[in-house]
């Protein structure tokens, strides 16, 4: 493979095209290009060099590399992390503890979703099936994964788990009923979770994989009222752990509310803002749309949180048309 002499813009651009957007470089080399046009994926040059001698142990280097890993103080609106440096846990398929949180508000039983054969079905029905698909598939991929089920009414209730047997979880799944809910207490939900889990200690986050990670998948459909959330320090700490993930599927009524009611977009944005590390997955699906959309979200949530790309980079369209990025550059 002949690469042209790297000239100012042209040569770099060529290099960028040839270098695939890989999982190791999820934002794409072109996104992380510094002003000098270099492809350095990291603003700290010390880190990108192979470890040589004592520099690995140097105090100076340690403090530089540690700064992005410092925990943010409790914030209600976390700032997204700088794009040029992300604290990444090794992409190991360690066991997951997945906590599925199912909203049981009455919106979930409104028959507005369009099923495959055109008839109407409700979100609870589809959720049950997709949750079953999810736990069975995860179990098939790795029998060490564990699951738990939480149902959310006005308060949250831990129904089952942790168990690695998908059947155990599924047995709790089909006896559920929806009811009218006054409010959604996110803090309560996260506290219920926090009391049931223990997050792995954070030593050498970037080099030593955790023994497991904890992932919450919230399937949520309330539209009325603004999301109120003032997390305690303990809850914030949990949210900010590199081993904790909070994925959300938001089923909304698709309408912009009139008057002083909050639109679903505001609530959705609030959920997105909880993700200070940029590592979580969020989906918004219309309650009156095709049910397949909901199924597909759950399928995308199968991805292991340590191995999946940033959500904005995920792409499943391998089979669609010609790949402009079918580059054989690395050979």
């Amino acid at each position: 493979m002949e690469t042209p002499e790297p000239g100012p813009a042209d040569g770099e651009e060529r290099l960028v095209e040839l270098r695939p957007r890989t999982r190791s470089n999820p934002e794409g080399a072109e996104d992380r290009r510094s002003s000098t046009g270099s492809l350095g994926g990291n603003s700290n040059p010390n880190i990108s060099q192979p470890a040589v001698g004592s520099r690995v142990e140097g105090e100076g280097e340690a403090s530089t590399s540690d700064s992005p890993t410092q925990q943010q103080p409790t914030l209600t609106t976390p700032v997204p992390p700088p794009a040029e440096y992300q604290l990444r846990v090794p992409r190991v398929n360690c066991p997951e503890k997945v906590i599925i949180c199912l909203d049981l508000s009455e919106e979930m039983s409104l028959p507005k979703l369009e099923s495959f054969n055109g008839s109407k079905t409700n979100a609870l029905n589809i959720s049950q099936k997709m949750i079953e698909m999810f736990v069975r598939t995860k179990h098939k991929i790795d029998k060490r994964h564990e699951f738990a089920l939480v149902v959310v009414n006005d308060d949250s209730l831990w129904l089952s788990g942790f168990t690695s047997d998908p059947r155990e979880l599924c047995s709790c799944l089909y006896d559920l009923e929806t009811n009218v809910c006054e409010s959604f207490n996110l803090e309560d939900l996260l506290n219920v979770i926090r009391q049931k889990i223990e997050l792995p200690s954070m030593d050498n986050v970037q080099t030593i994989p955790p023994p497991y990670v904890v992932r919450t998948v919230l399937i949520y459909s309330r539209n009325a009222g603004q999301l109120q959330f003032n997390p305690s320090e303990a809850v914030s700490k949990m949210l900010q752990s590199p081993y904790f993930f909070f994925d959300v599927v938001y089923l909304h009524n698709g309408m912009e509310e009139q008057g002083d009611d909050t639109s679903w977009r505001d609530n959705y944005t609030s959920f997105c803002n909880l993700d200070s590390k940029g590592m979580c997955y969020r989906f918004e699906v219309s309650l009156s749309g095709p049910a397949i959309e909901l199924h597909n979200c759950m399928a995308k949530l199968l991805a292991h949180p340590l191995q999946r790309p940033f959500q904005s980079h995920a792409s499943y369209s391998l089979l669609e048309g010609e790949d402009p990025q079918d580059i054989e550059a690395t050979v």
Binding site: M1, T3, L15, R19, P20, R21, T22, S24, N25, A29, L39, G40, G41, N42, I47, S48, Q49, P50, A51, V52, G53, S54, V56, R88, P90, R91, N93, S115, F116, M133, T137, I141, D142, Q206, T207, I208, P209, I292, H295, N296, M298, A299, K300, L302, A303, H304, Q307, R308, S315, Y316, L318, L319, E320, D323, Q325, D326, I327, E328, T330, V331
Partner: protein, 326 residues
């Protein structure tokens, strides 16, 4: 030579250090990759009462090769650091100032030799990387990998001899996930190569000349594929699950690599995201005899796999809707 025999024969003052090397000296997560010791000899006169061995060969797995370094102590002066002969790598001359455990050699620390060996391996890696500069193509590969903080520090590179006939330079890159407990690049299964590009699932990329007899395929190389990865076995790379979409429909493909891959072809299990069987299991279909050849390189395998998926998915989907339960 078993570790016990070596420890029995080594001079007593050197025993703690050798013990640390043979017992704890891992350069990989796989315990079979312990450092091995052979050719234990002594520099003392034959009148010296044993045990008094003070020199040996250390076998170090590295990038698909085994380095054989001579480590030479002096039983008469056990407090002194050893000399090293780096096998046939006569040009490998590490800078002593880059070896902290040599500069501050502590004969009383049982870990000292092991740490020094690790530092030497790092220098050796550096040396190999330097040799890559003789090939602009490989250098590009190397530089690209280096820029990533996750992988730039966790590579093993073996830059082989130039082929005198073709002038080609051959090299092998071994990459691993940064899951190393001892700060030495991990040597993983060298015959299994699952590489979706310069990335996490890459194990071994061998740049051979035109007469290469070994194929190190890179399955699912295209970035678009790797973006659809659901989960993969990050240690042995024996399995991988992909999520694919076709006309708004999602499909899962579970790929299982057999032990003698690439000789034996992977098992593909297609799974519907929407359907169950009548008995409540996941609706899936296993394919073991699709078009395949172990002689394809990684790119070819990826292309063919994609073509196969495209041809098979429509009928799989039909079957799922016909026979599966929603």
């Amino acid at each position: 030579m078993s570790p016990e025999v070596a420890l029995h024969r080594i001079s007593p003052e050197l025993r703690p250090m050798l013990c640390s090397v043979v017992r704890d000296g891992r350069v990989g997560l796989d315990s079979t990759n312990c450092l091995r010791v052979t050719d234990l000899k002594t520099g003392c006169t034959s009148l010296t009462p044993g045990p008094c061995c003070d020199r040996f060969k250390l076998h170090i797995p590295y990038a698909g090769e085994t380095l054989k370094w001579d480590i030479i102590f002096n039983a008469q002066y056990p407090e002194l650091p050893p000399d090293f002969i780096f096998g046939e790598d006569a040009e490998f001359l590490p800078e002593p100032s880059e070896l902290p455990h040599l500069v501050q050699w502590d004969a009383g620390d049982p870990e000292c030799l092991l740490q020094l060996v690790k530092e030497l391996i790092q220098q050796y890696h550096h040396y190999q990387c330097q040799r890559l500069r003789e090939s602009s193509r490989l250098l590009f590969e190397y530089d690209s990998l280096l820029e990533d903080p996750n992988y730039g520090r966790n590579m093993e590179i073996y830059a082989g001899r130039k082929n005198s006939w073709t002038g080609e330079f051959s090299a092998r890159f071994l990459l691993k996930l940064p899951v190393d407990f001892s700060n030495i690049p991990v040597y993983l299964l060298k015959d299994t190569a699952l590489d979706p590009g310069e990335d996490v699932a890459l194990l071994s990329v061998s740049f051979e000349d035109a007469e290469a007899t070994q194929v190190f395929p890179k399955l699912f190389l295209s970035p678009s594929i790797e973006q659809g990865v659901v989960e993969y076995d990050a240690e042995g790379f024996t399995k991988l699950t992909l999520l694919l979409m076709w006309k708004d429909f999602c499909f899962l493909v579970h790929v299982d690599l057999p032990l003698y891959f690439p000789r034996d072809q992977p098992t593909l299990t297609f799974q519907s995201v929407y359907h169950f069987t009548n008995s409540g299991q996941l609706y899936s279909q296993v394919q073991v005899s699709y078009p395949y050849s172990p002689r394809w390189d990684g790119n070819e395998m990826a292309k063919r796999a994609k073509a196969y998926f495209k041809s098979f998915i429509p009928q799989f989907q039909e079957g799922a809707f016909a026979n599966g339960k929603l």
